[in-house]
């Protein structure tokens, strides 16, 4: 391996010996193919002409008035597929194609990454198989149908907690057995090196655009950025262009049922350890067994987190705070009714945290929320949760 595989103490390559050759091949592609002019040109083409970049930075008049500061939404919900996941799926699928792989496998929680991978596979002519926990297939049945209509095969995962964590386990097992013709298109900044860096690099377009857009609109940098953090790819994507600036960065984690109940607030309440090939904060017991996480949003229901977030937490550069299921649900309705935008339940966590943080800002303070995905996928679930109440 060339260069570091870690972010401070975090990251690394805790994988079975049989996967090392695949990681070496991927790192070689990451350091040679990705920076090439040919790859970058093709990537820009697909992001602009196919996916619809750049996405708007929308000033929220109503919410700003209500919260007492200047609030913007980075509209990843308007990206083709309805979420930021497509930035990474297109990037890795193009890379897989350049590496000569014929088959792509992916894991999905909320189904957004599965849909993005199915889309990228369809347009680039690659066979796609997506591992999904049966628990998630139930609560995200719309996305299961979308993946299948896009030509992907959805493989139900019945092991362990039957959610995202177990879908990643199954995808890793598949990859070990089929490394020669298969690329594992991981959906977040998690997993062994080079995945956390590779996925981050495909998502940093979010922050680069935001920076240009806010400088044009406000002629200065924002005071606060907020993004939700499950694995953490949309958050890293937004934050990265601002890490060296005097901008406060906040990650909203899944507080789940609250302080005493089940949760997915890995950085707020976890301890470092190894899961899915990387050393990072985890939700685990005293002996190192991984515990089941919980969140109202399947995309944040993960007992690990990207290793770079663990590093940024310890450095004190990013502040991570929990947002409960109830607060997220409340902000799901709040944004829908205040701005006419249905947020994904994942993104609703960021909206909820932003509303709290706005209290500390003056009228001319600027706050940017990464609206990482749209909420259409969650409509049936929210309707069921609300029962007769609307």
């Amino acid at each position: 391996m060339t260069g570091s595989t870690r972010f401070g103490a975090y990251g690394g390559q805790y994988v079975p010996e049989t996967l090392i050759c695949a990681l070496e091949e991927l790192e070689h592609a990451y350091t040679t193919i990705v920076p090439s002019r040919a790859f970058q040109t093709e990537m820009e083409y697909y992001l602009k002409e196919y996916a619809g970049r750049e996405t708007p930075l929308t000033f929220c008049r109503n919410m700003s008035r209500d919260c007492g500061c200047r609030i913007y939404l980075k509209r990843e919900d308007l990206l083709h597929s309805g979420a930021h996941k497509l930035n990474n799926a297109l990037g890795q699928a193009l890379l897989a194609k350049a590496m000569g792989k014929k088959r792509i496998i992916a894991e999905t929680g909320a189904g957004q990454h599965g849909v993005a991978t199915a889309i990228a596979g369809a347009v680039l002519g690659l066979r796609v198989e997506v591992y999904m926990g049966v628990e998630d297939m139930g609560r995200q049945s719309l996305n299961v149908a979308r993946m299948e209509m896009l030509g992907a095969r959805v493989i139900p995962v019945r092991s362990g907690s039957r959610t995202l964590k177990d879908a990643i386990n199954e995808a890793l097992r598949d990859w070990v057995a089929n490394v020669e013709n298969t690329h594992y298109l991981i959906g977040s900044v998690v997993g062994p090196h080079p995945f956390p860096a590779l996925v981050r690099d495909f998502q940093t377009v979010i922050g680069r655009e935001t920076r240009d857009q806010i400088l044009e609109k406000e002629e200065r940098l924002p005071d606060v950025l907020v993004a939700c953090v499950g694995g953490g790819s949309n958050a890293i994507g937004l934050f990265h262009a601002f890490l060296k600036d005097d901008v406060a960065l906040f990650g909203a984690e899944a507080g789940g049922e609250g302080i005493k109940g089940r949760h997915g607030a890995t950085l707020c309440r976890g301890r470092p350890g190894v899961l899915h090939g990387t050393y990072t904060y985890l939700i685990q017991d005293a002996f190192g067994q991984i515990l089941e996480s919980h969140s109202i949003s399947a995309g944040l229901d993960y007992p690990g987190v990207g290793p770079e977030h663990s590093f940024l937490k310890d450095e004190g550069r990013v502040t991570y705070l929990p947002v409960t299921d109830e607060e997220a649900l409340d902000s799901f309705f709040y944004l829908s009714r205040t701005e006419g935008i249905l947020p994904a339940l994942e993104s609703a966590h960021a909206v909820a945290l932003a509303r709290t943080l706005a209290d500390d800002l003056d009228d001319d303070g600027i706050l940017v929320i990464n609206l990482s995905g749209r909420g259409d996928k969650d409509v049936a679930q929210v309707a069921a949760l609300m029962g007769g109440r609307r």
């Binding site: 049989t18 090392i20 050759c21 362990g160 005293a286 991984i290």
Partner: protein
């Protein structure tokens, strides 16, 4: 405990025929039965025991081992009880015993502490399934400090350059990952694995022991013919336990019978 450190070397040094390493999940289906299974494996002729400390997310393992993890964890297995179980076995047996587990189990106990506890319990070697050469530094150092053999993995996808480094860091024996993919029984043996086995044997004096996909005496004979010093059989034995547990029967004698049949594949002298 230091006088146990050469048990593995003594075993391979004195061997006639291929050694049988019988593998089981600690605490499967429960602590007391697991103890009896291990004793039965030894009585039935297993030359070495590989005892797995279960981890909730075993990415190198197939469905058989995953289900065994669930049974063991549900029955209360944890790292404290794991070392107690080994200490109890050690009271009555000098059979070499190696541990297989995952990185997080070792890290959460504290890497140095894990190897010290292993040595105190009477463990001879430790293999960590998701610790490749790249991450092995602290694990190998802690093993050496505790006089535990650090068992490392090679596979047919291991490059020549890495193979040399693995061979110089490893102790006890080399665990040859005989199948691409996860643990579990398979029908045939890939020719590439036999080629790899012979190549590794040519480069080192450390015993080489294949594992993954080995379930019958005929597999063992094939590996023996290519120079394997021993074989590791896991899922085939754990499958036997799973079946008996499902039937509501005691698995001990069935596991013993299976070990005896496997042993029949080992006794042909080369």
């Amino acid at each position: 405990m230091n006088h146990h450190a050469s048990r593995i070397a003594d075993l391979f040094g004195s061997r006639s025929g291929t050694l049988l390493v019988a593998c089981t999940m600690a605490g499967d289906p429960d602590y007391a039965t697991s103890m009896r299974i291990i004793q039965e494996m030894i009585d039935a002729g297993a030359d070495m025991i590989e005892l797995v400390m279960p981890h909730s997310d075993p990415v190198a393992d197939g469905p058989v081992m995953q289900e065994a993890v669930s049974r063991a964890l549900d029955a209360g297995m944890n790292t404290d009880r794991f070392f107690s179980l080994i200490s109890e076995i050690r009271k009555g047996s000098g059979t070499p015993l190696v541990v297989l587990t995952y990185a997080n189990i070792v890290i959460q106990r504290g890497v140095e502490q894990f190897y010290r506890d292993a040595a105190n319990a009477g463990v001879d070697g430790v293999a960590v399934a998701d610790v490749p050469l790249e991450e092995s530094g602290p694990f190998v150092a802690a093993a050496r400090n505790a006089r535990i053999e650090p068992i490392l993995f090679v596979s047919r996808t291991t490059s020549k350059d890495r193979l040399e480094k693995i061979l110089s860091a490893a102790g006890g024996f080399i665990y040859l990952v005989a199948a691409m993919g996860v643990t579990g029984t398979r029908d045939g043996i890939p020719e590439e694995t036999l080629v790899c086995l012979r190549e590794v044997k040519d480069r080192t004096g450390i015993p080489v022991v294949p594992g993954f996909g080995i379930s019958g005496p005929e597999h063992i004979r094939t590996y023996a013919d290519s120079g394997a010093d021993g074989v590791i059989v896991g899922s085939a034995l754990v499958q036997e336990i799973a079946q008996q547990v499902k039937l509501g029967c005691d698995p001990v004698s069935k596991v013993g019978g299976r070990v005896r049949r496997l042993k029949s594949g080992c006794i042909i002298d080369r």
